[in-house]
Symmetry: none
Subunit: 362 residues, 2 copies
């Protein structure tokens, strides 16, 4: 590789990504790190880049950085837009989504205003009104029951003076209208899990889930995949009750689920929620079965699955990316707002499966 070609590659990389790491680029271009350092030194002397420890950044990025720290935030750019986000809770599932949105907000230099509703419809409405009245430029919302036609929330959002993106919930097809959505494809997540178990030789696979927004999707993907693989006869779905706060009545339900599994000679299960899954795994082991030899388990959610006594194979919904993509979409709409129309976008992101001990094949 000729020196100029390397220089070209370096500058291209900088323009495309804003920065480069010597170790990575040296692998990609198949030249030694020293050579790259010499190249960077030369290009820096020509004012084409700025060297930093580990690599280099483009002059544009360097300037921005300087401005940012130089006047210690006095010159910090004012946010270009304010995006409201309404989530049912900030305890479960959503923290990651919020973090994704917040990462995107930082990148796009816009402000994120958060409201939570504790799964109350009235609260959703109130928060939405508050944010819109408060002058947000765009709104991201997760109505806990989806957006139903004719509901007051629907009326409000359909006429909202700002773009609205529904996050992680469906939009009734009849409404469609201008409301866009970004969501995970949980049916696909269930499919992933079932296929994973089938590949490991399981034919009798059960599903357990408490009532949650994702449950219907999970059930859908589960049944569809079982049917497609010719295992429909063994479908076992168990709806777990949501225990009252503080009560550990969930254990009862898990025990009943376990008994059913034994009774129907089920050898593997997919269970919604990794906390429940961990409790269930403990129960299974307590009853004298080995995981994964006698019973395989896939958790649907991946917050703590890695930390179970037997690390659990888990389906990880793309929470971070979800928030990130939703905020970007919302921001795009704010920017285009008065420009020519655009097609209504429905985005779905696919979960991934992380294999751990609870399904390692024999």
């Amino acid at each position: 590789m000729v020196a100029v070609a390397r220089h070209d590659a370096i500058l291209r990389e900088l323009e495309l990504r804003g920065s480069l790491a010597i170790t990575q680029l040296s692998k990609r271009l198949d030249v030694s790190a020293m050579t790259l350092r010499r190249d960077l030194a030369e290009l820096e002397s020509r004012g084409l880049l700025v060297r930093v420890h580990g690599g280099a950044v483009s002059t544009a990025v360097a300037k921005q950085q300087e401005r940012g720290s130089g006047s210690a935030g006095a010159m910090a750019r004012r946010p270009v837009a304010t995006i409201g986000m309404i989530a049912p809770t900030a305890n479960y599932y959503f923290p990651q989504v919020i973090r994704g949105a917040s990462d995107a907000a930082r990148e796009l230099n816009c402000r994120l205003v958060l409201g939570t509703t504790n799964y109350s419809e009235r609260e959703e409405l109130r928060q939405a009104e508050r944010l819109i009245a408060g002058g947000v430029d765009g709104l991201m919302i997760t109505p806990h029951n989806g957006l139903v036609e004719g509901s007051p929330l629907h009326e409000l959002l359909i006429d909202a003076p700002v773009p609205v993106v529904v996050v992680e919930r469906g939009v009734d097809e009849r409404i469609a209208g201008r409301i866009e959505s970004v969501r995970s494809d949980h049916a696909y997540g269930a499919e992933l899990a079932v296929r994973h178990l089938v590949e490991r030789g399981h034919g009798r696979i059960a599903l357990a889930a408490r009532e949650a927004a994702t449950t219907p999707w999970l059930l859908d993907g589960y049944e569809r995949t079982m049917a497609r693989l010719g295992l429909a006869g063994h479908v076992r779905f168990r709806s777990l009750p949501t225990p009252a706060v503080g009560a550990d009545s969930a254990i009862d339900a898990l025990e009943r689920f376990y008994d059913e599994c034994v009774q129907h000679e089920v050898t593997a299960a997919l269970m919604l929620g990794d906390v429940d899954s961990m409790a269930f795994a403990d129960l299974v082991i307590e009853r004298g079965l080995r995981i994964p030899e006698d019973f395989a388990l896939v958790a649907y959610d991946d917050e703590f699955s890695a930390f179970a006594a037997v690390p659990l194979t888990a389906v990880a919904p793309p929470k971070h990316d979800l928030g990130y993509a939703a905020l970007r979409l919302c921001f795009d709409r704010v920017r285009q707002h008065e420009h020519a129309g655009h097609a209504v976008t429905r985005m779905s992101l696919l979960p991934t499966l992380v294999e751990r001990e609870s399904t390692r094949s024999a």
Copy 2:
């Protein structure tokens, strides 16, 4: 190999890659390094290239490098990435998609390289190989039959060293993998049309479509909506033949479709393709019916619908936005390439309905 041929090869190489290395080219052309040096010396004296240690660079690149040392602004105009796009045709439907992609490319300062395949599977494979070998940074492709598991194209794309976005076609769910897609929701488009007609009092609605990639989706949305509205009993689907080029045998099929409509007391139709729809509208009027009073018509596609004798209400697939969104997605992936993973994204864009005379309610 004669001197002129070598000179030609040298200049071609420079134009393609911007620079060349003597050792590599001497192997490839099977001539000694000395000969190449003499060639380069001559071509340099003619001002056709600039020699550097180890090889040569094109004058364009050399100038850019030189100017680069003066002002950093010079490099702003060089494309930061090259995105390949493979479409089955550039005559029908895709021109708009391509325009959308090209608009996005301009905004993002990247180069778009287009290949068309004339609906040939071999050609799809060949073009994809060519573009990847040619060093594109990302690839957008519309395989005419979708991406089928196990096909050579699938094998190629799944292992491609660059991000791949499938445009306006499905990706087999089992494949999923890392391949992303952007597409129109044609089922929703059909739903839009049917609902529009039902709102205007029609109960017996027919669908006509020739064999095309969108046909199954149209049929799906049509049947689903008819069923949901309790009109399932009146489903009439007519598959039109694709006429040979030049022949106007399509008229026969349209006549048969018309007869069927009359026979079943159908009062409205959704027809794929606005050219066919226009021909059909003419035929209906010729037979003495009035549009929209006696018969309502919605065209699926909106290139020329506005220019029919009776301007046609049409469903407009979001072609421009499709290309735009696909290129942006692809570009994003190129930028993130080696950074942390991201969730696989499936985007669907909703068509819109443009109301015109052919369905104005009485």
